[in-house]
Amino acid sequence: MLELLNAWFIAPFDYGFMRRAVVGGLALSLAAPPLGVFLVLRGMSLIGDALAHAIMPGVAIGFLLAGFSLPIMSIGGVLFGLLVALSAGVVSKMGGQREDAALASFFIISLAAGVLLISIGGSSVDLTHVLFGSILAVNSTALLLIAGISTLIVVTLAVVFRALVVECLDPLFLRGQNRRNGWVHSVFLALLVLNMTAGFQTLGTLMAVGLMMLPATAARFWSRRLEGLMAIAVVLAMTASTGGLLLSFHLDIPSGPSIILLAGVGYFFSALFGRYHSLAAKLRRKTTPLSAETSM
């Protein structure tokens, strides 16, 4: 029994690449889900996807300039992501178009530009690498970068936490106070871009969103408190990233998809059996009508 446990859970980490991968995954799992929780609460769940694509051209330009150098590609990604977020903000303020419409336009342009740029300068392997990542290829530099970005996100999130909460709940409350909510929103978008940049090396631009959104949406079935949502989302993300890595190691399947699919299993499980609003909760509720308080 012990031997089996050792073979499944301990032995894989004898390999350096597995150790780096698990540390990178855990760092991301600490930073991404809280951002996802806020995205869900703000009704902006799809914005993460949009921003993930938005960093592609920057990553591609970095790739063309310096080859497969993660720091350069990341800087390019951050700069381009911020540029897109900023432009979308400007367009929505200018023309009365909602920000999500502007972002939707920008992200698809960015995706096309990114794919084109990488195809010009590299092979389809490079393209696959950027789109789908390869957590097993994380080296020490990449690991430092991921850990650094994750730390920055967690600390910044702590600083702007209250303002973010107020802005989610009731944007007008902050706007009454001299429109200070403008910066809150910008900082939040910047954190999202940073997170995408940290995620693309490990999970790829397309799937980095998964580690941010799936734990956050799943947590909604387990808690009705903000702190609870964040804690549960982080635990789910950590479980999924570590478990996904082990699965990919043992079953010899790609790591990114197995991490995200494991998070997806968590989501379906939560939707079926979670404490609140899940299928099971709805069935349970019928038997206890007294506690079924109406909200209006």
């Binding site: 609460l41 909460v165 007008l172």
Partner: protein, 244 residues
């Protein structure tokens, strides 16, 4: 005229437009501390536009709004529908958010803050709901919690948009009493109202918007003008104090 009687809010020859359409012209007025001003008018008369201008959200075409209340002491309570009711937050947490504008982003709350929050909830009769999520509150309970937030904020300028819509009569009584206390403590209150009964019980002054113009009048004048004679209850809900 002492310093306290100086108008907190001054509207001077305001011309307001939404896009190219003029909504209001030649709006003047001094709104004194401690006065409750009712803002009335048909739908589309420009009530929201005027509130936007007062909050600094909408730049006037000409004229100006002078507001001597610091930004962190201004509170704007929109109609309830504007709030996200699924947000995972308890009543106590909502009330405590009122202290954020002046308290800052990082400092923790001390015991005095929590005590103040509890006092406010007791005044509003929502102590027993302190840990209830917002999504499970009734319209009246939610409105009390929101007023609790503005009390926590120590608002000096309070704008309310139809605060009594979807609200039970006990809550109306309590809110009218609390708003009157706030006004007596010097808060300037502007409230959009539709119900003449509420207006008679609450307002010191009335600003009526009609056909692009604003007219100041006394509540009693409005009463004679628009309303059939009726008995307006003058007891301000003392009966229901502290109950929910």
């Amino acid at each position: 005229m002492s310093l306290n009687d100086l108008p907190r809010l001054k509207l001077e020859n305001l011309h307001l437009a939404q896009g190219r359409r003029t909504v209001l012209e030649h709006v003047d007025g001094d709104i004194k501390p401690g006065a409750i001003t009712a803002l009335i008018g048909a739908n589309g008369a420009g009530k929201s536009t005027l509130i936007q201008a007062i909050m600094g959200e909408l730049r006037p075409i000409s004229g100006k709004v002078t507001c001597h209340v610091p930004a962190e002491r201004r509170a704007w309570l929109p109609q309830q529908l504007a709030l996200d009711l699924t947000f995972p937050m308890s009543v106590e947490e909502l009330v405590m958010t009122g202290s954020w504008p002046s308290h800052g982003a990082l400092k923790g709350y001390c015991a005095a803050h929590y005590r103040k929050g509890r006092d406010i909830m007791a005044r509003l009769g929502i102590s027993h709901l302190a840990h209830r999520p917002l999504g499970e509150l009734s319209g009246g309970q939610r409105q009390r919690a929101l007023i609790g937030r503005t009390l926590m904020q120590e608002a000096e300028l309070l704008l309310l948009d139809e605060p009594f819509a979807n609200v039970d009569s006990d809550t109306v009584d309590i809110l009218i009493r609390i708003l009157r206390q706030m006004a007596d403590d010097g808060t300037t209150i502007i409230v959009v109202l539709h119900d003449m009964d509420h207006l008679q019980r609450l307002a010191d002054e009335v600003l009526m918007l009609n056909g692009g113009h604003a007219r100041w009048m006394a509540p009693s004048a409005l009463h004679q003008q628009h309303m059939p004679a009726q008995v307006v209850p003058l007891t301000l809900g003392g009966r229901h104090a502290g109950t929910a």
